[in-house]
């Protein structure tokens, strides 16, 4: 029987996002040349939230981008399960900018590897940072996040579900443990 445990509710997610927003600004020493790029699907919503929070504190709008990494995956066979490709839209140029990749969960690192490849085809940022709401460990590539909202230890068979109000009607992080 799979068991579901909620490791963060709406308020916990809000707190994590607020902390992440200020950490991003700190690490970038302001918002000059900053671009937030959300990874389809839920990374896009999280990037939008961070942009709102940063605008509140810094008083400046941060450019947003969306990235679908499906075409850069190293395992095309799984398109059989999810063939629809999401929108990719990025600001005109990435050259010389600081790009912050935003995603919901960091696990094997393969998505981020694909995102880095894809970003390289759009331009040459001066710096790329990785910002994730949940780091669940289990990396298969030498990739680490710079800004992390929550850390959770998981097994291979577990599933981490990030829920966002825009898509799922509530903000939350659940861990589903199998058996």
């Amino acid at each position: 029987m799979p068991t579901l445990s909620r490791i963060a509710d709406e308020r916990a997610v809000a707190r994590a996002l607020a902390r992440m927003a200020s950490e991003v600004v700190e690490r970038c020493q302001g918002v000059e040349g900053l671009i937030l790029v959300g990874i389809q699907r839920r990374g896009v919503e999280l990037a939008e939230r961070l942009a709102v929070l940063i605008e509140k504190s810094e008083g400046r709008q941060v450019p947003l981008g969306k990235l679908d990494i499906t075409l850069y995956r190293d395992d095309l066979q799984s398109v059989g399960h999810r063939p629809i490709i999401g929108e990719t839209s990025l600001p005109r140029t990435l050259d010389g900018q600081t790009v912050v990749i935003v995603d919901d969960v960091l696990y094997s690192g393969r998505t981020i590897r694909a995102a880095l490849d894809e970003l390289a085809d759009f331009g040459r940022p001066s710096r790329i940072l990785l910002c994730v709401l949940v780091d669940r460990g289990g990396r298969e590539l030498p990739i680490q996040a710079d800004v992390i909202g929550l850390r959770v230890a998981t097994d291979r068979d577990d599933r981490v579900d990030v829920r966002v109000v825009e898509r799922d009607g509530e903000d939350a992080v659940d861990v589903v443990r199998r058996g």
Partner: protein, 319 residues
Amino acid sequence: MTPTPLGKDLLGLEELSADQIRLVLDTAEAFKEVSERPIKKVPALRGKTIVNLFFEASTRTRISFEFAEKRLSADTVNVATQGSSVAKGETLVDTARNLEAMRIDMVVIRHPASGAAKFLGERIRSNVINAGDGKHEHPTQGLLDLLTLRDRFGRIEGLKVAICGDVLHSRVARSNIWGLTKLGAEVAVCGPASLLPTGLDRLGVRVIRRIDEALQWADAVNILRLQLERMEGGFVPSLREYNRIFGVTRERLARAGREVVVMHPGPMNRGVEIDSDVADGPASVILPQVTNGVAVRMAVLYLLAGGSPDWATHPAEDR
């Protein structure tokens, strides 16, 4: 073998369900953006080998497929009839076996015989994409026409589309009829009776005798190319008369009293089936058709590659 969302081969729109057609169109939507990128290339088909096997002269379709393949990072080889063993009398079955022996992943085939793509697909393990087989089907053209109509009208369902001209010899017409009717459009054909095939009424297609009536009825017209051989075959007396009776002219279009979107699969005979000021006019979506052609072909290649039998299944969850 994990079946791809489209099956092993794309042979025609007759075999596809409405959902499969919508999937291709939705996927093509995403690929439109790739062609607008500074680097118009994604690695989705990296390491895949694709042979473009053209037994018939074609510039537009071949180039469109080639762009689609290259933008997906596939390795491509073009085989045209001239200078190949095909010209030396090799049969299609031998060609198929040789391709198979070279371990290619996909074949895009254009062939003058109806059924040639199916013939090939039944004999090799590689994915086969029909780029036009005789008078049978030209599915990627049908799909790009659907995408262009959907772009323009926001829907296909309920649209009235008239396919005008040499329907008898047209694979584009057949793919259009299947695609449009499956997605809920109303379809009519219009042309000289000598160039309309029998039995279309049983496919739910209406037959309109005069071009003016077709323009009155339709939201969009797809104007087919009139091939010069048709005159020699005695189907129509002259190009001049064809233009006068069936040509889509600005005056005729104006008489419809509202905008009728104009499509043409190309290459056009300006002044025969279509006048230049129609082809270049505001109602024409002929160039968007070409642009959409690349996106649709990328989508088809991508969707067929997604289920190649050689690939092991991986866990879906790996962020």
